[in-house]
């Protein structure tokens, strides 16, 4: 690798995120000692799963020029629906719950996408408003935490705890947590989509939806689609929670909204839309989870997690703005030379 390609690498926004990831891992590993043990890695992946899923969904929306401030409450609503429909002693209610939950998720995605894409309400306002609709609906479904979950639903959390699974799969689950499978499915979806027209149009609409429209792209439909895809990620997250907690709560998703936005920003996805990668948002979510872990290790109250998320968003955006201006200046110089 010559000097030029190293320089090129340094100018990529991904580099900053990866460096930050390595730094965070180094700090946590030195503080907690057993970080690289197989058991810790597995349990970490499990605890990071919800945020990674939400961040990936969020990044679709943000790359497409939108924003979703309702994904936390939306997750709660789907979760409450799932656990309210299920009865622990009737396996068939699990199927019913999966189906109804999916319908709720699609409804959430379509409503958000319709309001932002077709009615052209600014995404910030629109999803902030719908977040209260989801919250209200979740409280109607489940005023106090509760609900039940069928045992087989635990495949979304851990194969080992599903009684009816064959021994071989249980062994597999002891190594690979189900959350990782969900995440990998998400990344495969992204890789496939990014090589199709959808991927190109996603960036086009996120960069400038009016110009994209003039070029013959149905911008409104594209934005609707990003919210629907986002809703599917939220659905995956809700399945994970249902399986993990075996119960629902209308407020459990609230802190996740801000954290998912922070994760996307830390992952180098510009809030202005049109740039960034979905898998980088996943790395951003890992970094945010490590930050939360650090807060835990330092024995600070859990409320600090929300506080720090807010601060990180501002910090990350400030840094990326400075980064972009210096990059632009460097580009100008190159052009003159």
């Amino acid at each position: 690798m010559n000097v030029k390609s190293i320089k090129k690498l340094l100018h990529r926004t991904e580099t900053a995120t990866v460096i930050l990831l390595i730094l965070m891992v180094a700090v946590i590993a030195s503080l907690s000692g057993n970080f690289f043990e197989a058991y810790t890695i597995r349990s970490n992946i499990i605890s990071w799963t919800p945020l990674i899923l939400l961040a990936m969904g969020q990044s679709f929306v943000i790359i497409g020029g939108g924003l979703d401030l309702s994904n936390g409450p939306a997750m709660s609503l789907i979760l409450c629906t799932l656990t309210a429909v299920m009865h622990a002693d009737s396996d068939i209610t699990g199927i019913k719950a999966l189906f109804i939950g999916l319908l709720v998720a699609l409804g959430i995605g379509v409503i958000n996408g319709f309001v932002v894409g077709y009615l052209r309400v600014p995404a910030l306002i629109a999803t902030f408003a719908t977040s209260y609709i989801w919250l209200g609906a979740a409280l109607l479904v489940m005023p106090t935490p509760g609900g039940e979950c069928v045992n087989w639903m635990r495949i979304f959390y851990d194969f080992q705890s599903v009684e009816s699974l064959p021994e071989g799969l249980k062994q597999f689950g002891a190594v690979i947590p189900s959350g990782l499978i969900l995440i990998i499915i998400g990344i495969i979806v992204w890789v496939v989509l990014s090589r199709k027209k959808f991927g190109r149009y996603l960036y086009a609409v996120g960069s400038d939806r009016d110009i994209a429209y003039q070029s013959g792209i149905n911008s409104a439909k594209m934005q609707l689609l990003t919210y629907v895809i986002n809703a599917l990620f939220i659905y995956g997250c809700a399945l994970f929670y249902a399986a993990q907690n075996q119960a629902g709560s209308a407020r459990i998703g609230d802190p996740l909204t801000l954290q998912s936005v922070a994760a996307v920003v830390v992952g180098g996805v510009a809030l202005s839309g049109g740039t960034g990668k979905v898998y980088m948002a996943a790395i951003g979510a890992v970094i945010m989870s490590l930050v939360n872990r650090l807060i835990y290790i330092l024995e600070l109250p859990a409320e600090y997690q929300v506080l720090v998320s807010g601060a990180i968003i501002i910090l990350a955006i400030t840094i990326s703005t400075i980064y972009e201006t210096t990059n632009a200046k460097a580009a100008e110089k190159r052009e003159v030379n």
Partner: protein, 510 residues
């Protein structure tokens, strides 16, 4: 063969009639020039043909069938493609991604990027050599963007191609390459509508022309039948405006030096620039596009913190480090891009004119609305800005009138140096002359020094007392008096050193 015919098109926006009776005929393999002043309805009819606007009445026949495109997508599918002047490129996508946008080819369901790159490369190579198509559009300069815009339109293999002032942002050589390409397309049977404010281009490339004035056709000329008579055409465009040139007299300027610049240096962009400008003098800055002229204007207006220069304004040493500072000293910039830099498009004329006052002068507790409105109305009258009221939004004015507001809002201040960065770009002939005459008068009467960067050499020849030619960030030539003519300017712009009649003034060879 007639490909498209638009008949009796009417379009109103609110109470304003943009088009009262628009007609145009496009024939197979012919290049039709669409002429007219700004606000004459020529962009409106282009936009109606491409489905951006719906006509209020009138018919469009395309290949013998009556059509009504509801949006640009439908028009595109039918083969009508427009290269927009306010570019339709996505900033965050690369050049080749933009060129194939919405026409992507796929291979087994995935995007075929190799063929997209190949097509783009081939097309762009016919305009400029060595163009890096992997760059994002946001990294390109304005002429490069214009090329990509045109290439994008061509790549979609239109049957009817509409080029809306494509040459405004192009350099001479690129424009020539474009004309060659247009002729090639026409020979293949493509019908082209071409708009431009530059008469020589129209004369060179068009087969026939249609002239618009005040929302309706005032004439059409088929060059093959009627011959090419430029004077006749100009008369049609300007209508009742007199066409003879009032070339200004270059009298000896014996006044004091107002602004003196020495050793101006800005990073790698501007090198070792020095010049002086007298009171009441109009100093032109010329040269090919992108040689540092825009940057020089921005530098003089105090936009670059790291600028190094020795600057004397009326013998007082000043610094050009912030815009606030230069404005306080009486140096005002009229930016080139009036829509993004000079005006708040959604605000009224009155509010646009009010803003500098709020920003720069101490205001009484209650704003003296009546007084300010009166002042504003006076300026509007003085500049003959065409509007029914000062509460009209800037958006709703024509380009020339918008530019007048940008100049006008500084008039109540004590202007010493007025920097004009290509003020007439996209402004029609009549409004252009109005504006320059006003500026000349202003300069002479109020002892204002005007530094004018113009991309059109005619403007330099016509209005400047002295002209500096820039090349790669330096001043390579100073022309004054009768030496200011098109030939000399062009020669100096290309930095042809064989030009021997070097002025003895502080001309610096690069």
């Amino acid at each position: 063969m007639v490909i498209l015919e638009a008949k009796n098109i009417v379009k109103r926006f609110g109470g304003v009639t943009a088009l009262s009776d628009g007609n145009i005929v496009c024939r197979e393999g012919k290049i039709t020039g669409l002429l007219g002043t700004n606000g004459s309805g020529k962009s409106t009819i282009s936009k109606i043909i491409t489905g951006v606007y719906l006509p209020d009445s009138g018919t469009i026949t395309y290949y013998g069938q009556q059509v009504s495109f509801r949006n640009p997508i439908e028009a595109k599918k039918a083969g009508i493609i427009m290269a927009f002047q306010n570019l339709s490129l996505i900033p965050d996508l690369t050049v080749w991604q933009n060129v194939v946008l919405s026409f992507e080819k796929t291979k087994k369901g995935f995007l075929d990027n190799q063929s997209a790159k190949k097509i783009t490369k081939e097309l762009i190579d016919s305009f400029v050599e060595g163009f890096d198509i992997e760059r994002k559009v946001v990294q390109l300069n304005s002429s490069e963007k214009q090329i990509v815009e045109i290439v994008k339109a061509i790549s979609e293999e239109p049957k009817l191609l509409i080029l809306d002032e494509p040459t405004a942002a192009l350099e001479q050589a690129q424009a020539q390459a474009l004309f060659k390409y247009m002729k090639k397309l026409a020979a293949q049977g493509t019908s082209i509508i071409f708009t431009s404010h530059r008469m020589n281009e129209i004369m060179e490339v068009c087969d026939d022309i249609v002239v618009f004035n005040n929302g309706h056709n005032v004439g059409s000329v088929d060059f093959e039948v009627d011959g090419r008579n430029q004077k006749e055409i100009v008369k049609m465009i300007t209508g009742d405006i007199h066409t003879e040139d009032i070339s200004h007299t270059r009298t000896e300027n014996t006044k004091d030096i107002q602004l003196e610049i020495k050793n101006l240096q800005y990073e790698n962009i501007l090198h070792d620039i020095q010049f002086s400008v007298k009171k009441g003098e109009v100093l032109g800055i010329g040269g090919l596009q992108g040689q540092g002229q825009t940057e020089l204007m921005l530098a003089l207006a105090g936009n670059y913190k790291t600028l190094q220069a020795e600057v004397h304004l009326n013998k007082e040493k000043i610094r050009l480090n912030t815009p606030a500072n230069t404005i306080r000293k009486g140096i005002f910039l009229v930016p080139g891009d009036r829509q993004t830099e000079g005006l708040m498009m959604k605000e009224s004329i009155y509010h646009n004119m009010l803003m500098p006052k709020f920003a720069l002068k101490r205001q009484p507790f209650f704003i003296p609305e009546k007084k300010y409105r009166k002042e504003c109305e006076e300026i509007v009258k003085l500049l003959s800005i065409k509007t029914d009221s000062i509460d009209t939004k800037a958006d709703n004015l024509s380009g020339g009138n918008q530019q007048k507001i940008v100049v006008g809002k500084w008039l109540p201040f004590d202007i010493k140096v007025l920097l004009l960065s290509d003020p007439a770009k996209g402004v029609d002939i009549g409004a252009k002359r109005d504006m320059y005459q006003f500026i000349l008068k202003l300069a002479r009467e109020k002892d204002i020094s005007v530094i004018l960067y113009a991309s059109d050499n005619d403007e330099l020849v016509r209005y400047c007392d002295n002209v500096l030619i820039m090349y790669e960030g330096s001043i390579v030539k100073r022309l004054s008096g009768d030496a200011i003519n098109n030939v000399n300017i062009t020669a100096a712009s290309l930095n042809l050193t064989k030009e021997e009649e070097v002025e003895k003034d502080e001309c610096k060879e690069h």
